[in-house]
Symmetry: C2
Subunit: 195 residues, 2 copies
């Protein structure tokens, strides 16, 4: 799905992934403050300078690259697509983002634990979430008009995260079935609960 066609992109992706994996492992192992960029560089077998070629800072390596919505998809979404149903389209977009952001589930889980283990990382992650939420709210209102209140849009954003989080928990408990099924179950249960 991603551009893994040419060798350059492949290696770049591998290096970024290796750096993040090592950063997470180091954080889980010793704590965020107890490893240096040099340690990370050595662990990932790159030079210290290369770390900063890939990430904007120490925390960014653990958190991974900042999520940014594909402008093309955003345009479709703002125009009312792809399906026309707001919730469905939001979930579709969220699924895409989450999919490409957490290709490896084990690493995602480890990253979660690492972030949860350090207040500073948690704060940064929270800030990031606020940022994308703000952007998302803006798009929802562009799509459905200003009568869709910011509060409602923010609630929608939170709801989506909650649903995915719950689906992830279900998936962890019962890994055999596809994620989509767990997710559908979460949506159904949410509707039941709220009904």
């Amino acid at each position: 799905m991603n551009q893994l066609c040419n060798r350059r992109e492949t290696k770049r992706h591998q290096t970024a992934l290796r750096l993040q994996q090592c950063a997470i492992a180091l954080t889980l192992d010793r704590g965020f403050d107890s490893w240096t960029i040099d340690d990370l560089a050595a662990a990932a077998d790159v030079s210290r300078r290369t770390v900063f070629n890939y990430f904007d800072g120490k925390a960014d390596v653990v958190l991974g690259p900042v999520v940014e919505l594909d402008p093309e998809r955003v345009a479709v979404f703002v125009a009312g697509g792809p399906s026309g149903d707001l919730l469905s389209d939001v979930l579709t977009m969220a699924a895409d983002v989450i999919e490409e952001h957490t290709s490896d589930k084990d690493m995602a889980a480890a990253g979660r634990r690492a972030v949860l283990g350090d207040p500073r990382l948690l704060g940064l992650a929270h800030q990031r979430f606020e940022d994308v939420t703000a952007e998302f709210v803006e798009h929802v209102r562009q799509r459905d008009g200003d009568d869709f209140s910011p509060d409602r849009a923010r609630l929608l954003s939170r709801l989506v995260v909650t649903l995915f989080d719950n689906a992830a928990e279900r998936a962890e408990a019962e890994p055999g079935r596809p994620f989509a099924e767990h997710f559908d179950a979460a949506v159904r249960d949410a509707r039941d609960v709220l009904a």
Copy 2:
């Protein structure tokens, strides 16, 4: 011993080694003519162009980089050093060359089989040996004067190779002891036989 101090040299060395290993493996597996540079590049996980950045041609990858005597050592040798005894000094120089040329014994053995399996590789290897022998003969005569006949110098060259070859066989049969001991034994036996 080699310059493995900085990351650049290390990676360069690793890549060269990986390329040669893959080339040997491919040759052993399918024969020298039945793999392409692209196959090798894919196997070693580098681009086709990189192969030619490291080696001068397809055969050179299997044979490894051309041996070239360290000018500094050669100067010492021509001047009569380091010990003053011809045979001893020749063996010292040869040991150095062989040492840095075949750091991995298994790979050296595999390379030997690969070369032996293809007439063209064998020819090239033989040509290479002739070249260094010619160079060596020149140095011996520079050191000991022109009364040291070329024939005698060539014999010396052959003798050295034979001794190392024999020592390698002994080392393979009895890998526990250090190579130097095997080599000394080979020299002793050679002297006994010729006495």
